[in-house]
């Protein structure tokens, strides 16, 4: 079924940028917000807002019901139990929670090995690297090839390290590669499997039970939701024995001056006043996506990605990264021979209204790895990145491609 997007829902797209129609191709950084979602959030603030779980009055009751409904929506979306759905401030927080809690609980110990991949976003690198300095566990990497791709062979080689924990992205935010999670689960059957779903979840309905995931993190703002809210899915039996990460109100059962006992899951992981309107808004965003249909969305994005790769491949002055095959979804990184990515992005924005990202995309090691395969005279340690989502069209791709041609002419 073709995707039916109402462009009225995205008034940002009707705006002009620098006198040009806005072509928004920075979806991997964050997505636009549907007006209906924003309006419902305002309605919530005005008609049903209060602090949750705490008071017996009517507004508190409405707010609590709305908050827990959002949890139920997410649980259904992932095929998880509501008690396995923890709201966080974002994907980064989710990973920090997992690493710290596993350490505090003694599940991750000195001498253990954590296997990451070389394709990770800093969010799934820095917490492990830095805390390994304090706690003495080891880190090993699944290697990327010269196109930045994680192959099945490389994944298999990771077995040598006998990792206790495997933490990998589900979808690279630089190369656009969708990682074969079924294969990863098969290869590391006994490891605790943590998946960074920041890029994957906005594009694909996952079944955490089917995939056998132990932890999954993602962010609302990359899937039409508000900023400041994300989800950590955790397997019930693990969550139950884990020490919380953040401590404060609502996550405790009893407090004396000497001792603390904790509330049950998921509450023991949600300390303090949560991003209530954010959580409720993420629920609305999910409703919006479900109404469009995840299957249609995925198909639309796959078609556009194919077209994007096709058109960019025609430009002999452009170098493309990533798998460039069926596993390549939404995100396309490239460079223009002789022109620095910042200059490309700046001119695309100023002269053509096209918003793309340039830089290391918070994945410095991966971008440096691309230097191994480059044919550019001078690899800039960064790339231009275009990423498409549900409201993009082939026309958007055309505008960018035309822009690149002109730009190459100007800069020579």
């Amino acid at each position: 079924m073709p995707l039916r997007v109402s462009f009225d829902d995205f008034p940002t797209l009707g705006k002009k940028v620098n006198g040009k129609r806005l072509v928004y191709l920075d979806n991997a950084a964050t997505t636009l917000k549907p007006k209906p979602v924003l309006e419902k959030m305002v309605d919530f603030y005005i008609g049903s807002y209060s602090n949750v779980h705490r008071a017996v009055h009517t507004l508190a009751s409405r707010a609590t019901v709305a908050y827990e409904e959002a949890r139920m929506k997410v649980a259904k979306f992932l095929n998880a139990d509501p008690s396995e759905v923890i709201f966080t401030s974002g994907a980064t927080m989710g990973i920090n929670l997992v690493v710290n809690s596993l350490l505090r609980s003694g599940i991750l110990r000195e001498g253990d090995v954590v296997l990451l991949s070389q394709a990770e976003h800093h969010a799934n690198l820095v917490p492990w690297i830095r805390l390994s300095k304090f706690h003495g566990f080891g880190i090993a990497y699944i290697e990327v090839n010269e196109k930045g791709v994680l192959t099945e062979e490389a994944i298999l080689r990771g077995k040598e390290y006998k990792p206790k924990i495997v933490s990998v992205t589900g979808h690279s935010n630089v190369t656009g590669q969708v990682i074969p999670l079924e294969f990863v689960r098969e290869v590391f059957e006994d490891a605790i499997l943590v998946v960074d779903g920041a890029q994957l979840v906005p594009h694909k309905r996952l079944d955490v039970k089917d995939l056998g995931l132990d932890f999954l993190v993602f962010s609302g703002h990359k899937m039409l939701g508000p900023t400041g809210v994300g989800v950590l899915y955790g397997r019930k039996d693990l969550l139950e024995v884990m020490e919380p990460f953040l401590y404060g109100g609502e996550m405790i059962d009893k407090v004396s001056f000497e001792e603390v006992t904790f509330n049950e899951i998921p509450y023991k992981f949600e300390a303090g006043t949560q991003n209530i309107a954010g959580v409720v808004g993420l629920g609305y965003a999910l409703d919006y996506l479900e109404a469009l249909g995840f299957d249609s969305l995925e198909e639309h994005v796959r078609d556009l990605t194919e077209y994007l790769i096709e058109e960019l491949s025609k430009l002999e002055f452009v170098e493309l990264y990533g798998p460039l095959d069926h596993s390549h979804v939404s995100i396309v990184s490239f460079n223009v021979e002789g022109i620095h990515p910042h200059d490309v992005a700046h001119v695309l924005d100023q002269e053509f209204g096209v918003a793309v990202r340039s830089g290391h995309h918070c994945a410095q090691p991966l971008v440096r790895a691309l230097a191994r395969g480059t044919k550019l005279s001078n690899f800039p340690n960064s790339t231009v990145r275009a990423s498409v989502y549900l409201y993009n069209t082939k026309e958007d791709v055309d505008v960018m491609v035309e822009g690149l041609k002109k730009l190459k002419g100007w800069f020579g």
Partner: protein, 134 residues
């Protein structure tokens, strides 16, 4: 109003209050969010719940619910009690339930309209369930 005369009478009932020395089972229950706490003392006669008393305090709803619960379950088999508890929970959560099993528990049907008070009603029932399932 959920504070009917009947519920208020049950809230003030004294006869099930107190400790039972040599109880077969003692179970503590609490509501994290409001701090209500009760302790149930259970005496069994074979498979039957022969006597129950409670200590602790809380709001009128939790107190009344505890008294009604004790009245209803006393003399029943464990299996019957678990069945009643399930139906009480279903009632207050707005699911299907068998009214015939519940007797005066039906007085609390309206509590289901107040999500923040459901826990008050359920406190004794949850505590009893845990005590019996141990």
């Amino acid at each position: 109003m959920i504070y009917s005369d009947a519920i208020m009478d049950y809230a003030k009932l004294r006869k099930y209050r107190g400790k039972i020395e040599n109880a077969h089972r003692i179970e503590e229950g609490k509501n994290v969010s409001c701090g209500d706490e009760i302790t149930l003392y259970l005496v069994f006669d074979g498979d039957r719940v022969a006597e129950v008393k409670f200590e602790g305090q809380g709001c009128a709803i939790s107190q009344a619910s505890t008294n009604v619960m004790i009245e209803v379950v006393t003399g029943k088999t464990k299996e019957e009690v678990i069945e009643i508890a399930k139906n009480a929970e279903n009632m207050v959560l707005g699911r299907e339930f068998e009214a015939g099993l519940l007797g005066p528990v039906l007085l609390f049907q309206e509590v289901g309209k107040y999500p923040m008070r459901v826990k008050c009603f359920l406190l004794p029932w949850k505590t009893l369930q845990i005590a019996l399932e141990r």
